[in-house]
């Protein structure tokens, strides 16, 4: 019995670290999420409008205890998430995240002698968490990274943040590729311990974790070189002066333009919220 559990445990351990994590899969998902949904309704909207919209649905649910209102918001953000055609990986993470935040708490409450009365606050809490996260998924995954960066810049967020977002989406595929290459070279030269026994499995796991840690050494050196090249290239174009120059900012943001579609979206959302409020006041 106990050896069976041990075996399962160790299988789970090693499986979690390496086998399920295909870096190629990750890379395609991130790329798809960033650039694969440019033609959706959400991606076509003005980033400023979407950010204001997010501010509403990212904040207001925290302040309400009205189940019907929360449910209404939840349905709306579910629809917008579907419209944004978000990558599967992101949705999976969302489901896992919501469960880990409230499902776990529910189990512990039952363990400490709580009863069904604990269920309603938890349902409210999960509705709030899901609404807020789906709103953020809609805006942050639905938008093109450059659009998002421009939108944030328009609202006066530090230029460093817009730069980080644009840079991160571009550098991530390169970084992943490099990390994978380093890991593969370690694997080719390495001699992993046998996985036949429980101790062997444990050793294998430790070996894997060690390889990942060691892989960061060449990765850090390579990334340092790349950072230097990046910054020097930016400096050549006068990046640090442009970052604080108002004229440059104006030119960069001149592409943002409000259309009727951009107004239609918040108006429809407003209508929906008003209807939910009416229903909740009638009931």
């Amino acid at each position: 019995m106990s050896s069976d559990i041990k075996k399962k445990f160790s299988e789970k351990l090693s499986e979690n670290i390496m086998d399920k994590m295909s870096i190629d899969f990750l890379r395609t998902q991130v790329l798809k999420n960033a650039y694969g949904n440019k033609d959706t309704v959400i991606a076509g909207l003005d980033p400023r409008i979407l950010l204001v919209w997010y501010l509403f649905f990212g904040l207001i649910p925290w302040f309400s205890h009205d189940i019907i209102f929360l449910l209404g918001c939840f349905i709306l953000v579910t629809i917008t998430t579907m419209l944004a055609r978000v990558a599967g990986l992101v949705l999976l993470l969302f489901v896992l995240g919501v469960f880990s935040q409230t499902g776990y708490l529910l189990i512990v409450i039952l363990l400490f002698g709580g009863d069904a009365s604990a269920f309603l606050p938890l349902l409210t809490l999960s509705l709030k968490i899901s609404t807020v996260s789906l709103a953020s998924i809609t805006v942050f995954s639905g938008l093109d990274p450059d659009q998002l960066a421009n939108g944030l810049m328009w609202f006066g967020f530090p230029e460093r943040l817009s730069f980080s977002i644009s840079y991160a989406y571009r550098i991530l595929p390169v970084l992943l590729q490099e990390f994978q290459n380093i890991l593969l070279s370690y694997r080719m030269r390495g001699n992993p311990p046998s996985r036949k026994t429980f101790a062997g499995n444990l050793k294998y796991l430790i070996y894997q974790v060690k390889v990942i840690m060691h892989a960061f050494y060449p990765l850090m050196l390579n990334t340092a070189k790349r950072s230097r090249t990046t910054v020097e290239a930016l400096e050549l174009k006068g990046y640090r002066y442009a970052a604080v120059n108002k004229e440059v900012k104006k030119i960069r943001l001149s592409a943002l333009r409000l259309t009727n579609n951009d107004l239609l979206f918040p108006a429809l959302s407003f209508m929906w919220v008003a209807v939910t409020l009416l229903i909740s006041s009638l009931l």
Partner: protein
């Protein structure tokens, strides 16, 4: 010729350090977001932190650029990119990571001294985790209505948060912060600095020990993290009151619907007009 003895990093170097930390820690947090955690009984095993990356870099480079880079990297790669952005809660994580990494970086005068490196790595990790735990407990207290009234909830929150803290210190702290930092810092010391056009940190060039100013600054930062939650709490009352008033009046809700309908009609008319003009 300009002398290249900028330990205290000139602006371009600071930007390089920022970019380096952001991409490295961002990549790592992306992984830790994806590796699922699993539980054995009540103890949860998760690769919560790759905090060793910013810790290592903070001991070698300008601590504040590293700290800000790490916090930004986490925000951008694992929160915004994966759509996990949680609004106000992210501010708290941003601040606690910044403080933890910065202080760890300030503690190390000589990166080849392993004892010092180990101490600083643990100190930074414990500090960050402790601040996170305190804010987490406060957050649940504010988010759930009638926190004290729900049977078993306060105890369970303290228990889970306490467990999570110990668990993280023992598991993530030692395995994923202490050991890698001990391996990486002496190994990278003197090798990675020239790649960014800098001199390695020595006893003469480090930023001096943590002083009162740093501690005060950290306390202010931590207070700001809590204040964000407190602000949410007071906003809570305000909007709750407004919403209560709105919910009680059916007329108000109908008024809102009418207003929304009028806006919609106007936009639709505008839209048909523009499309006619365009066509």
């Amino acid at each position: 010729m300009q002398q290249i003895n900028n330990y205290t990093a000139a602006q371009p170097q600071k930007l390089m350090i920022f970019v380096l930390t952001m991409s490295m820690y961002g990549l790592a947090t992306l992984f830790s977001e994806l590796i699922p955690s699993f539980q054995v009984g009540i103890v949860e095993f998760s690769v919560e932190y790759f905090l060793f990356i910013p810790l290592t870099l903070a001991m070698l480079f300008d601590p504040i650029s590293v700290a800000l880079g790490a916090a930004t990297g986490e925000l951008v790669f694992s929160e915004i990119m994966l759509g996990q952005f949680g609004g106000l809660g992210e501010l708290e994580k941003f601040i606690t990571v910044t403080i933890g990494v910065y202080i760890a970086g300030r503690l190390v005068s000589n990166p080849s001294n392993r004892k010092l490196v180990g101490f600083a790595a643990m100190a930074g990790t414990v500090l960050q985790l402790l601040m996170g735990t305190i804010v987490d407990i406060l957050k649940v207290q504010f988010a759930v209505e009638d926190f004290e009234a729900v049977a078993g909830l306060p105890q369970s929150v303290f228990a889970t948060e306490g467990f999570a803290f110990l668990n993280d210190v023992l598991f993530s702290g030692i395995l994923f912060c202490l050991l890698p930092a001990l391996y990486l810092v002496p190994k990278l010391y003197g090798k990675i600095e020239p790649l960014l056009g800098m001199q390695p940190r020595t006893k003469d060039t480090w930023l001096d020990a943590v002083n009162v100013k740093v501690i005060l600054g950290s306390l202010v930062g931590f207070a700001a993290a809590i204040a964000a939650e407190m602000l949410a709490e007071s906003g809570f009352e305000l909007i709750d009151w407004e919403a209560g008033w709105a919910e009680s009046g059916t007329a108000f809700a109908i008024g809102m619907i009418v207003a929304a309908a009028v806006i919609l009609v106007i936009i639709l008319i505008l839209r048909t007009n523009t499309s006619k003009k365009a066509g």
